[in-house]
């Protein structure tokens, strides 16, 4: 019998094989390329099922091998499936497969059709590395690879400059977070000598107290980048430049949730680490609130959903920060279903109408009934209406926040509740403006999307409505007990129902929807008047709190300036010294040349000159005429005689 453990590597490797095949031969396959990719996704799903089943029986699977030796130290790699991984496997492979199928319709006729599916397969491979990895290095490898896939798919239509820029922005924002992640890995290696999750959890008690604060926050930085939390959230709204199924798969359901998964997976670092938890919870809470306020005023349907994703991710992060290690992953799962559905529904609307602007839509219920009804399912799920998926997971988060040990938890709870009302409002606004009322733009002739797109919608709708039920009191919180297996270092505590929290959450959700109803259906309150009366806030929200402008002014510009300044320094100073040294050398050479020519050679020449000149004078005497010589002889003799006479005269005198 084949041992299932040995088959685990195939879960990521099959999509990798699909990527290699498609990148090499995809262009020749035309649109048949999709079958390879879909086949790989379904195979990964099928291979995951036995693993998921084993966790239902409270078993887990683990395999590892020695990757390399660094000196004498072995570095191991491994895959494991426990309940947390099983949940992620289910989300990734199941939703992923549906989105693959949906993409066949959405990308039909695109000139880089096979390339698109190749990237999807590469994404599948990388995401599965994150989910299955039993250590931080493996997670980090997958982490960077999904970042690459995200980059490739955001700038898939790279002829548009905005798409190219958005891809780059996403990659760079993620890299900033990855610095933290990498430093956390280095810290853990240094502290524990290993980055294997299980071994780290065993050794964690050696390091209680403040020593873990910085590594934990660094690790969280990685999640901030990938899960687009403030202050690195700016890339996610721009990421909507990519094809819509990609927005659904990568930028809503799976990749952006990887940060939440990673924090949950390494929750032992955060548990009891109040300072770090405070950072996590406040960042999550702020992101949830800020993004929700921006979503209120956006008119691009994908932008609303993007900010909604930010907000919901903030919710999950806050859940982890307040100690809701089950609530965060629970919301991750329900959110994956309803947000994927929302994006795919939006994609169907864009496909059918050719616009993304909700002001041009309206009345699509009649023309696109399947899309509309499935969108409604997702709407009630995200808005937090019982008994649909989002309600149970949000309730769990609010309850965790309410009972949290983190200081200021009641404030977080209040903001969380208020954000829930905002969420219900903006989702209702999108739903009403898109599907109800009358068609506002008569130019648009909407049509329902093909079955290859609507069937995945219907399947997702079913899950969006009911996936929360296993975590509800009616099921005896079965889901929570199942997930608890992945947190052996935590004491499972009984979940007490709090009808006050539940009631408040329902009330706020309903009032949000009600307000939207009054504004966009009944017309009793004019949206324009509301916007007028709070104009500064409206403008602030419409311009997304001006984050891009602030970053551009205070980070990007000074940074680019500093690179140019350093380059100038290099050319003028560092190289200036080199060229200066060369010039000095040449100058010295010139001086030496001068010295050589005028001094050294000059002395030599001087001898010659003196000899020459003196010889010329002496030569005057040598005339060759005998009379002159005799004359000289006589004059000389006369002079000698004269001197002798003078001498003798002295002596006589």
């Amino acid at each position: 019998m084949l041992n299932y453990t040995n088959l685990i590597p195939l879960i990521p490797l099959i999509p990798l094989a699909s990527f290699v095949i498609l990148i090499l031969f995809g262009s020749r396959m035309k649109e048949k390329a999709a079958y390879v990719s879909i086949g790989a996704a379904l195979a990964a799903f099928a291979l995951s099922v036995p693993g998921i089943m084993m966790t239902l029986k409270h078993q887990s699977v683990h395999m590892e091998w020695i990757w390399l030796y660094l000196g004498d130290r072995p570095i191991k790699m491994g895959f494991m499936i426990d309940s947390l991984t099983a949940m992620m496997l289910f989300v990734v492979t199941f939703i992923g497969s549906l989105i693959h199928i949906y993409s066949v319709g959405y990308m039909h006729g695109d000139k880089r059709f096979s390339r698109y599916f190749a990237y999807l397969s590469l994404f599948f491979f990388s995401m599965l590395l994150i989910v299955l990895g039993d250590n931080l290095i493996m997670v980090f490898i997958g982490w960077e690879m999904v970042g690459l896939c995200s980059y490739l798919l955001i700038s898939f239509w790279f002829e548009r400059m905005s798409a190219a820029r958005a891809g780059m922005k996403a990659f760079l924002a993620n890299r900033v977070g990855d610095v933290g992640f990498l430093l956390a890995i280095l810290s853990f290696f240094w502290m524990f000598g290993t980055v294997n999750f299980e071994q780290m959890a065993e050794k964690i008690h050696q390091y209680q107290g403040t020593m873990l604060v910085i590594p934990a926050v660094l690790l969280f930085c990685g999640a901030v980048g990938k899960s687009a939390q403030f202050p690195l959230h700016v890339w996610l709204p721009d990421a909507m430049e990519g094809p819509t199924p990609v927005s659904a798969l990568i930028h809503a359901a799976t990749m952006v949730a990887a940060g939440v998964y990673m924090v949950a997976r390494s929750f032992f670092v955060f548990h009891g680490n109040i300072e770090a938890m405070q950072v996590v919870s406040y960042i999550g809470c702020f992101t949830a609130f800020m993004a929700a306020t921006i979503a209120l005023t956006q008119t691009d349907i994908k932008k609303v959903l993007a900010y909604s994703t930010l907000s919901q991710l903030g919710y999950m992060v806050m859940a982890l920060g307040v100690g809701g290690y089950i609530a965060g992953p629970f919301h991750l799962m329900t959110h994956a279903f309803f947000k994927a559905l929302l994006f795919l529904g939006a994609g169907s609307v864009i496909h059918g109408t050719g616009t993304q602007d909700i002001r041009q839509m309206g009345g699509l219920m009649k023309k696109m009934p399947i899309t509309a009804w499935t969108f409604l399912a997702a709407f009630v799920a995200i808005a937090g209406l019982p008994p649909f998926a989002g309600f149970w997971s949000k309730d769990e988060i609010l309850l965790s926040t309410f009972n949290s040990p983190v200081p200021g938890h009641l404030f977080l709870f209040a903001v969380g509740l208020f954000t829930e009302a905002l969420t219900a409002f903006y989702m209702a606004r999108v739903f009403f403006l898109t599907f109800l009322g009358d068609a506002r733009d008569k130019e648009i002739h909407a049509h329902e999307s093909p079955l290859v797109m609507t069937v995945p919608l219907a399947i997702l709708a079913f899950f969006a409505l009911f996936i929360g039920l296993p975590g509800s009191p009616m099921a005896g919180h079965w889901f929570q007990h199942w997930l608890q297996q992945s947190f052996p270092y935590m004491h499972a505590h009984e979940i007490h129902l709090n009808f006050g929290v539940m009631g408040a959450s329902i009330f706020l959700a309903l009032s949000g929807i009600g307000l939207a109803y009054l504004m966009y259906i009944k017309g009793t309150i004019s949206p324009d008047k509301v916007a007028q009366s709070i104009r500064p806030l409206y403008i602030y929200s419409l311009n997304k709190w001006y984050w891009d402008e602030i970053y551009g002014m205070f980070l990007i510009k000074p940074f680019l300036w500093s690179t140019n300044a350093l380059y100038a320094f290099d050319v003028w100073i560092v190289d200036g010294v080199v060229n200066g040294a060369a010039m000095v050398a040449r100058g010295l050479g010139f001086l030496q040349f001068i010295f050589d020519k005028y001094i050294v050679d000059g002395i030599v020449n001087l001898f010659g000159w003196v000899t020459q000149k003196s010889s010329r004078i002496v030569r005057l005497v040598q005339t060759g005429i005998i009379q002159n010589y005799i004359l000289l002889l006589v004059v000389g003799l006369a002079l000698i005689v004269w001197f002798k006479i003078l001498e003798n005269m002295h002596a006589v005198l």
Partner: protein, 501 residues
């Protein structure tokens, strides 16, 4: 069979053969020249395969007394530090030979010098005697000077002279260091293995009380060697010859310069300065740390400011080579391995980058990054290949660059936490200049000027694909290289000892 001698001098034999071929028969010259680089490559593969990593000491040694009066011997031999470099040299020279097909003027002279250069490189990595090392090291300058100065770009004379003089200046310091080692060792020797064991046993400079501003003689000797090697690496602030030389050199010569010649500096650290003068090396570990970090950060920043494709890659080299110094500064096995891994990985990745810049330059006759745009739609295969290599340079996991950087960080972090953090932060800037380059060249709307640009051809692909395969293989399965270098690094670390015992 004297395998190492054969491998070293086969290219020189090729150069001599080429001298006899008439100038006009350019096709014959190219094929003969390439044939000899292929033979040298095959020999380097044989050396790699014959090398037994688990067996300690130097292997395949050849030893003949040469000038006994000054104890100079013809001594060749390899260990885990030289074998990967020899393989890299063989491979890169062969691929650069294929890339030399575009050289159209003075083909005969080009190939003669090209082969002569290969002998210098192989010899540097294969020799075990400082005298030989110095000869091979200096002899490389001559063909390199002409290869840049004759076949280079508009400012070729300036670049060639700068390269020559700068490296020569370093070489002189290095020679002084060698002489100091010779005269202080007892008995006088220039043998690298002998000097290593003397140095590690503390027998070098024993009883020497020379002081110069608080520096002992070993310190001064180390500094002389350091500057000699640092110029070649190049270490900041000795790096400014590099952008000029790269920009002006023809494509294949840029490739060899980046992939092989820059490694000689690092090789010098691993082979000569650190094993022979371990205590001085530890004394100056701060110098390695500071200059390494500056190089990493500074190179990345300046690379981002470039508009010339080749200059960008040149400055990225300065940044990448900083990792060698950072890795070596910590005196941990992870750091030493990381630095060495970076040498090999950089050779592969940057070699490929220069090849790819050359492909673009041959078509567009410009390297101005802003002159392109949207090429991805026009040249998809080139786009794919360039993207892979660019992402490799960026340090993407799954490729060799990531492994090298990760090991280096792993080795340096426990010793220098804050400084390592600074280096880790640079990965954002690295991603910045790589992606900015890709955006300007490949993405956006197609610049209509290049509407007829042909895609990368089969010959050019032949030069790059092996490098892609290697960088991915080393990224997924680092043991391929680690198996060779691990044992010798372990031995070296035991001999040198930790920074703070």
């Amino acid at each position: 069979m004297p395998l190492l001698s054969l491998m070293t001098f086969i290219p020189l034999a090729g150069a001599l053969v080429l001298l006899g071929v008439p100038k006009s028969r350019t096709e014959t010259i190219k094929w003969v020249g390439l044939g000899f680089t292929i033979i040298a490559f095959i020999l380097s593969v044989i050396v790699t395969l014959q090398y037994v990593p688990t067996q300690p000491g130097f292997q395949m040694q050849e030893y003949y007394s040469w000038i006994p009066q000054i104890h100079v011997n013809y001594h060749l031999g390899v260990d885990g530090i030289s074998v990967p470099m020899i393989l890299l040299t063989g491979l890169i020279t062969m691929l650069a030979g294929v890339a030399s097909w575009n050289i159209k003027i003075r083909v005969k002279e080009y190939w003669v010098l090209f082969l002569f250069l290969e002998t210098g490189m192989m010899g540097t990595f294969a020799c075990l005697d400082l005298f030989l090392f110095y000869i091979f090291w200096e002899i490389m300058l001559v063909p390199m000077y002409f290869l840049i100065g004759i076949w280079g770009g508009p400012r070729k004379e300036y670049a060639a002279i700068k390269f020559f003089l700068y490296t020569l200046a370093g070489g002189v310091l290095m020679l002084i260091g060698f002489l100091a080692l010779y005269f202080t060792s007892e008995p006088h020797t220039l043998s690298i293995p002998l000097l290593q064991s003397l140095g590690q046993q503390g027998k070098l400079f024993a009883g020497n009380n020379f002081r110069f501003y608080g520096l002992t003689l070993p310190h001064l000797v180390f500094l002389a060697l350091f500057i000699g090697f640092a110029i070649k690496v190049p270490v900041w602030p000795f790096h400014t010859w590099l952008p000029d030389a790269h920009v002006e050199a023809p494509t294949p010569i840029s490739v060899i310069l980046a992939a092989v010649l820059l490694k000689m500096g690092g090789y010098g650290f691993y082979r000569i300065s650190h094993p022979i003068l371990p205590d001085a090396a530890k004394h100056f570990s701060w110098l390695f740390l500071i200059l390494g970090i500056i190089g990493i950060v500074y190179g990345a920043f300046v690379a981002l400011a470039q508009t010339d494709f080749k200059k960008m890659v040149a400055y990225s080299s300065v940044s990448h080579m900083g990792f060698i110094l950072l890795g070596m500064s910590a005196f941990t096995i992870e750091g030493f391995i990381g630095g060495y891994y970076q040498m090999f990985s950089h050779g592969i990745l940057t070699g490929a980058m220069f090849l790819l810049v050359g492909v673009l330059y041959d078509r567009a006759h410009t390297r101005d990054l802003n002159a392109f745009g949207g090429l991805a739609a026009k040249v998809p295969v080139y786009t794919f290949v360039l993207s892979i290599m660019a992402l490799g340079s960026l340090g993407l996991p799954g490729m060799s660059g990531f492994i090298a950087e990760f090991f280096t960080f792993l080795g340096a972090f426990p010793v220098y936490r804050e400084m390592t953090m600074l280096a880790v932060l640079t990965i954002v800037v690295t991603a910045g200049y790589i992606l900015f380059m890709m955006q300007r060249v490949l993405l956006g709307p197609l610049n209509e000027k290049w509407a007829n640009m042909p895609d990368i051809n089969a010959r050019e692909l032949l030069t790059v694909v092996p490098l892609i395969v290697i960088t991915i293989a080393l990224g997924v399965c680092p043991s391929l290289l680690l198996n060779i270098i691990n044992p010798v690094m372990k031995t070296m670390m035991v001999a040198i000892g930790p920074l703070h015992p």
